[in-house]
Symmetry: C2
Subunit: 195 residues, 2 copies
């Protein structure tokens, strides 16, 4: 198959990400957002908030990571951040998905996407650390502006949020402090997040 045909096959396949609903409400408090919307939102946030990264980051690389990191959910589905059972098998399902979907691309581009995905998962580089900040900050922000409903309905405990965010400060001290003070604490006080 020609190079451009492989690229087109991948580009059409990933259209399905628009159908993967998350457990986060949009700011209108009615509609759940999907993975494509989530990735778009975080990409713009990275353009605007990269100045708060603890370390200097390559913005294009960080955005690229965020744009592609949920593609595996086309096959593996979205696993809720606080679903312990789901999280156990998530990893295997996602590796199978990455193999199928990324390999639709020409070999050099498949490798690039794999490398970005692995870098995000390993969370070692400044770019991956900051991308992970975005991936935690964005849904917490939306939960907070929708009156903490998703936390309340899912009975989420503060402990779990803190556990999930134990490394967020490694990407950005400023943004971790902001989200803790403006999004998390007020919802603990209001009883939306269980203590």
């Amino acid at each position: 198959m020609e190079r451009i045909e492989k690229q087109m096959q991948f580009i059409l396949e990933i259209d399905k990400e628009k159908q993967i609903k998350r457990k986060t409400l949009q700011s209108n408090g009615k509609d759940f957002e999907d993975d494509a919307q989530h990735a778009w939102h975080m990409a713009i946030m990275t353009l605007l908030l990269s100045e708060y990264s603890n370390e200097k980051i390559d913005v294009l690389k960080t955005i690229s990571m965020l744009l592609i990191h949920d593609l595996v959910e086309i096959d593996a589905g979205d696993t809720y951040a606080y679903d312990d059972q789901g999280l156990k098998v998530q990893n295997e399902r996602e590796i199978l998905a990455a193999n199928r979907i990324f390999n639709l691309l020409p070999e050099d581009q498949a490798k690039k996407v794999f490398d970005l995905w692995n870098e995000f998962e390993e969370r070692k580089t400044p770019e991956a650390k900051f991308a992970r900040v975005m991936d935690n900050f964005q849904p917490v922000m939306l939960n907070a502006v929708t009156d903490g409903r998703m936390w309340a309905e899912n009975g989420v405990h503060l402990e779990k949020i803190l556990k999930r965010n134990e490394k967020t400060h490694e990407g950005s001290e400023v943004l971790w402090k902001y989200m803790y003070e403006h999004f998390i604490l007020p919802n603990v006080k209001k009883g939306r997040i269980k203590e």
Copy 2:
């Protein structure tokens, strides 16, 4: 207001872009895509297809343009590519929208977003030309894979598609040829696009 508060206000405001429906069906043939999904799709396409740009492009700048270029539709709404009446007043509505929305940001970032938006609109730089290729290629691709239904239902003439795309080749000869041969011509033959 503090810098970070202004940034947060903007980031929350643009969440509304997820509600702006377009006149393009997703590849499932059922759901219309929205502006956020559209921008996400084109951003990944730019990562993968920039090799077909006639001129060398700054990929981050091109992606940044595509991520922000439809934000004005939060106020101005989506204008269908072939709605002549709508297109006449579109420009004024979009300038008002840009003023309101972009100016939520700190001054330096508002200027950056304005500059990106104007650059896209003016279509003079290699990045703007390629971004415009993406903005035309992506919906034509989705129309084609959904059996040309949107063209048929809206009674779109070939002449209008060619007029809208008269400068697409300036951004990428390869992608213009591909979309003409693979997406447009077959749908003229099938009668989905009127001659």
